[in-house]
Symmetry: C2
Subunit: 468 residues, 2 copies
């Protein structure tokens, strides 16, 4: 080491270890723990029903003119809030040099603030438990789902809408309240949001944590069990949990880490994609009515307005616009055990709203809403394999909602389907690559590698593997 001549060698300082492998093993132990020290899995449905009964929720579709504080801006037709905050609905013009459709317009949600999706964890009986919240989101068909401890836009926790404080937020904004286990910026839906990302955080509490009635402590094994039920674990929970570090089990892979990164870099570089915000009035192909903004052929999604009455949120009632996709999506990992190691066939997928052109997406991500026009007469690769999968091939299947704070009835059937050389050869088509589960978990330490749907499925795949 360097020591300047003639100066005293500095005192050795207490350094920390760069990595603490115990953390990943503690997460794995929680995943392997099927029963919790607090709420039993068998009692969960009753607990959630009780929370549902404890609050008053009412959701109503209203005309745009019934929105309070929201209006269409004269010069642009953009749908904006008078405070200038929250989010805006604007137009997006996308051009690309590959794919069946090379140019289109669409409405998009612009919400430049980075929110916090935070999960607080704490050890009970030697096992990490996650502090989950029963939270109402107006867009969820069943309204109440299991959300992370904290789910807050910056407007939320800086009190722009003058509601109550965000519970437990201090664990994620103050360094002395806990120990960070994971913290990265991850993208949201690139088909609907313009370059939106959130901070995905897992923090271990140092001291006792008071338990609010809308919250419960669950092991990762319990949450894995709940992930098998439709519409229970919300999108924000799924994306944060996907970022939990896990022990790396396999040293082998079909492609080395360097080759995977190089392929991904090439995919990001090869696509010439331009996504420019335009006034919503100029989004050709879309028309605005009193109750909705729709694609002129009725495809993709609509923009609609909701009135919300609620007793368990930061404020007791509000109105807001949401996007309502048309039809339920099919989102699937095609997997293979190659040389004894779990691999997933990932697509490097262009989405107009992503910060940097492409992210790794599930093998199949067929949303009849927004993507039908992109794929046109083409049959999306591997869709038939997934739709025709036999029960023995289906390792996982459940319906989950996307973010219910911005999307109305946005549901997808999430599947993990095991394939073989005949149906999904090791020699993947252009734009696709076999990547191991461990490799995907490693990439999630960093932002903008896996899209939000891939994070949901990776969490489910990890849950299958963590099953004792």
């Amino acid at each position: 080491m360097y020591a300047p001549p003639g100066r005293p060698t500095p005192e050795p300082t207490a350094l920390t270890s760069r990595e603490d492998p115990a953390v990943a093993h503690r997460i794995a132990r929680s995943a392997a723990t099927a029963e919790g020290a607090r709420l039993r899995t068998d009692d969960f449905a009753d607990w959630l029903d009780e929370r549902r009964r404890a609050h008053h929720f009412k959701i109503e579709r209203i005309p745009f003119s019934g929105l309070d504080g929201w209006s269409f801006e004269d010069a642009t037709g953009n749908l904006v809030h008078r405070s200038g905050r929250f989010f805006t609905v604007e137009g997006l013009h996308v051009t690309r040099d590959t794919g069946p459709h090379r140019e289109w317009y669409q409405p998009t949600i612009k919400q430049p603030e980075v929110g916090i999706l935070g999960l607080l964890v704490k050890e009970f009986d030697g096992v990490l438990h996650f502090l989950m919240q029963a939270k109402m989101e107006p867009g969820n068909r069943n309204l109440l789902q299991l959300s992370p401890t904290v789910q807050a836009t910056r407007s939320n926790y800086t009190k722009v809408h003058k509601g109550a404080d965000v519970k437990y937020i201090e664990y994620f904004t103050r360094a002395d309240r806990g120990r960070v286990i994971a913290d990265s910026l991850q993208s949201e839906h690139g088909a609907w949001f313009f370059r939106k990302s959130n901070r995905n955080m897992i923090v271990e509490a140092v001291d006792d944590v008071p338990l609010d009635p809308d919250f419960c402590w669950l092991t990762l094994g319990q949450i894995g069990e709940l992930l098998r039920r439709d519409n229970v674990v919300n999108m924000d929970t799924r994306t944060v949990l996907a970022c939990a570090p896990l022990p790396q089990e396999d040293e082998g892979a079909l492609h080395s880490d360097t080759d995977v990164l190089s392929w991904f870099t090439a995919e990001r570089a090869r696509h010439d994609v331009h996504a420019e915000r335009v006034p919503l009035d100029e989004a050709s192909g879309w028309k605005r009515g009193d109750m909705s903004i729709d694609h002129e052929e009725g495809r993709h999604f609509s923009v609609v307005a909701l009135r919300v009455e609620a007793g368990s949120r930061e404020v007791t009632g509000w109105t807001q616009p949401v996007f309502e996709p048309h039809g339920i999506g099919v989102t699937a990992f095609v997997t293979r055990s190659i040389g004894g190691v779990s691999h997933v066939l990932m697509e490097a997928r262009v989405e107009g709203g992503l910060l940097d052109t492409v992210e790794l997406a599930p093998t199949v991500m067929h949303t009849p809403g927004n993507y039908a026009h992109l794929e046109g007469e083409y049959r999306p690769p591997f869709l038939d394999l997934v739709l025709a999968a036999t029960p023995e091939q289906i390792r996982y299947e459940a319906v989950h909602s996307e973010e219910g704070g911005r999307f109305l009835n946005a549901e997808s059937r999430y599947l993990i389907v095991e394939a073989d050389e005949e149906t999904a050869p090791l020699e993947a088509p252009p734009g696709y690559r076999w990547i191991t589960r461990d490799q995907l978990n490693s990439l999630l330490r960093h932002g903008h590698y896996l899209n939000v749907q891939a994070r949901t499925l990776l969490l489910c795949l990890n849950a299958l593997a963590g099953r004792p």
Copy 2:
């Protein structure tokens, strides 16, 4: 592992190792090899002079009206090429919620295509050598510097300007010609470019490589020696070399990897920065003359036009606009050996043109040109420490040019200065963090963590450590 019931277990497939630690050790061996198997370091200056004599170069300032194919677009005042390609000079409007200056306009270079900066390596006498090119760039004061094997925009290698083929490009575009050692998208100058990134690649050649007269093979140790000379190793070489994997030497750090990533994520999330492209005509505070576009107070930089005559590039002559910064920059790493481990005080720095708000920048990055107005009456932190450093504290010092294809006489004095608890305490000010050299090297496997100036200095810091 999962095996579907009733189906044969798949044959074990030849997997590869996820990591090959030998690669990093081979790079380290090259760094420790002070003399090359081909060109001796003592003969390098003569070789470069000879290459200079072998070609005809002439650079001339011309009025904008003398530009061939470039003109100011009527509607916007943007400076564009008639092909619609290469790059454009547009306006940028930046607002931010921190710092002494919260809003400004400036010209910016928009070049959305991802270029390739590629270094070919090959083993001679058991040591990796890098294939370097003597390349003319019109903006470099001494014109000819040492560039990577390939330095090509997509327009270059897809022949938009109808010149000669880019030599050696096939090693970086065809998988069968070599083995990838590093490949990531890295940002360029966020103060001048709008969201520009390049693919930084190092590829090891499998077969014999024919040697063109403008190229030479050098060890990393030789390049480390040349880095001590002013204006020899160009910016593209420096950024690619910084991405070469090196053995991780230290397991300890002042802050764990997770804490460093969490701090960085918080820094990215906390800044509210909006950078919007606007027509160049609307960049208030800037005025256009016949020969230049200047800030009305003469600060920052100017946009000027050049005519180039050359015999060793893909084409023999052309005209183009360039940015000419005013004054030489001071760019420095403040370092400390903490508990025997090399640490650098990094800043999470906002730059208007970065893809994602902030990247890790050197401790001091004071460019009297573009940044003076940002810092205003504030004295930039640690600048005085660097300017007052004694010869014993200065571990490294040299003047280097920024990218000579877009910037004219853009030079910075690069320094590495060793500090102590009194001048640079372990408790860093907000926005700064002590990070180890190993941690910085690990981050460079991924894009958009270290800005381009930090990559130059990390390369120099690695060269100091690699010295036998």
